[in-house]
């Protein structure tokens, strides 16, 4: 039935050194984390050009969860379910919310944080949330003898259109998130990125304020097909504003956001545009409610 279909060689490195060696020797191999994304592509099997596979699951460092006073550091093979169960005191609120929204437990037990960040042609909400939380990602080049590592903010992993910017021979080796406390956090995902990607949008927003004056305001809008939107100018615009926002201010900021997204040449459907606007407005209304309740 599958004549001519090649059975890919499977490489299972057990140390970082083995990984570098496998990656250097088999340059076209694909990195395999949980495999949920790779296997859910329509043309995954059977296909004539099956690349070799480098499985990341046997490298102990990649499964490590490390907590210090200042940050939580996780290896790329930590599953989304493990991350969700670390506990609300440690995992920042918007991330907990994002993880709970992400598929079902059966999928979360298999999917990993590294895989979720590196899906090549679809941008998931978790990338936006980690960017808003100022999470840093360690990338390592696996091209012996050039095996240097670098830390980059999550936001720098993608361009505006959500395209993954890491090189083919680079892997995520660690994800580090701080324990910064924000006064307000909001996450909302409308739709399902795997089923209706061109209708789905998600927003993560955090805000801190001091005596009703906004001191910190960060957000990210993700669209599965081509959208990873953080706009510093809008964030700056919001900083220094006195809460609550007036109804006109909310409408104006939401309008500026939509115009900013349109100006990036992103493919965004009319429904997505409407959803972004409404979800963003909803977040600002909730921020108003919270700040008023605390007075």
């Amino acid at each position: 039935m599958y004549e001519g279909i090649r059975s890919p060689a499977i490489h299972v490195p057990k140390t970082m050194r083995d990984l570098v060696s496998a990656a250097t020797r088999f340059r076209n191999a694909i990195y395999w984390a949980g495999g949920t994304y790779i296997m859910s592509r329509h043309d995954y099997y059977p296909t004539k050009d099956s690349y070799d596979i480098i499985s990341l699951r046997e490298i102990p460092d990649f499964k490590r969860i490390n907590r210090t006073d200042r940050y939580l550091e996780v290896g790329p093979m930590v599953t989304l379910n493990q991350l969700a169960s670390i506990g609300k005191q440690i995992v920042p609120d918007p991330l907990t919310q994002t993880l709970h929204e992400l598929g079902t437990r059966i999928v979360r037990k298999q999917a990993t944080i590294g895989g979720a960040l590196c899906t090549p042609d679809i941008r998931l909400a978790i990338s936006g949330t980690l960017a808003v939380l100022n999470t840093e990602i360690e990338l390592k080049k696996l091209d012996a003898p050039h095996t240097e590592s670098r830390w980059v903010p999550t936001g720098k992993l993608y361009d505006r259109n959500g395209r993954l910017l890491i090189a083919k021979n680079e892997v995520i080796t660690r994800v580090r998130m701080g324990f910064d406390h924000e006064d307000f956090s909001y996450f909302f995902c409308s739709g399902n990125p795997m089923v209706i990607p061109d209708e789905t949008v998600s927003l993560t927003l955090v805000c801190s304020y001091n005596q009703s004056v906004i001191t910190n305001f960060r957000f990210c809008v993700t669209l599965p097909y081509g959208g990873f939107h953080q706009f510093q100018d809008i964030e700056v615009l919001a900083r220094g504003t006195m809460l609550p926002f007036s109804a006109q201010q909310i409408l104006r900021i939401a309008k500026v956001l939509i115009e900013a997204i349109e100006s990036t040449n992103t493919t965004i459907s009319a429904l997505q545009k409407e959803r972004v606007r409404r979800i963003f407005e909803m977040a600002l209304h909730q921020l108003n409610t919270q700040s008023l309740a605390e007075r």
């Binding site: 599958y2 296997m39 493990q82 709970h100 059966i106």
Partner: protein, 170 residues
């Protein structure tokens, strides 16, 4: 690739492509009757099996992950004592999944039943599950033959049988 694993308790030697999905292996190489339609992308949720006692979508498990794994298909599960809890729950609720999704929904129910009262790495390890969690988890299977109320009723009834079984065993 040569892989040895256990399917419904039977040691099985497979000669398959290393990246062949488990649902296809069960359909073509093992000829399990649970698998007669090919799902492709994890989106129908009709190919659930238990792998080392955890529910998985078999279309997302490649052959190379099967080495020494214990796979339980619905046929195998029906031979276990656990099945009776769900069988009775279906009778109590006077509703059951349609033939197309029956195996998968049953195995998702089973995976949820295994979490109750057990500390595990999952988020919900309390003695009962919230209705919302039950509905969300069952949504992995996209067939809409049962409504949310029926799903919760079946689960709660099966959970009662399961708790009684545990008490008796202790």
């Amino acid at each position: 690739m040569k892989i040895e694993c256990f399917i419904d308790g039977k040691r099985t030697l497979l000669m398959v492509n290393s990246n062949k999905p488990l649902n296809l292996i069960l359909m073509e190489d093992v000829e399990s009757s649970q698998f007669n339609a090919r799902c492709r992308d994890g989106n129908c949720g009709n190919c659930v099996v238990l792998m080392n006692d955890e529910a998985v979508l078999s279309c997302l498990i490649p052959a190379f992950r099967l080495r020494d794994a214990h796979i339980t298909t619905f046929e195998g599960y029906k031979k276990t004592r656990f099945w009776h809890d769900l069988e009775r729950a279906y009778e109590d609720a006077k509703s059951q999944p349609c033939p197309l999704c029956f195996p998968s929904k049953t195995l998702i129910f089973e995976s949820l039943l295994r979490t109750i009262g057990k500390p595990s790495e999952g988020e919900d390890n309390d003695s009962s599950l919230e209705d919302e969690t039950i509905i969300k988890e069952l949504s992995l299977n996209r067939c809409t033959c049962l409504d949310a109320r029926e799903l919760v009723e079946i689960f709660n009834s099966a959970a009662n049988y399961r708790r009684r079984r545990r008490v008796r065993r202790n």
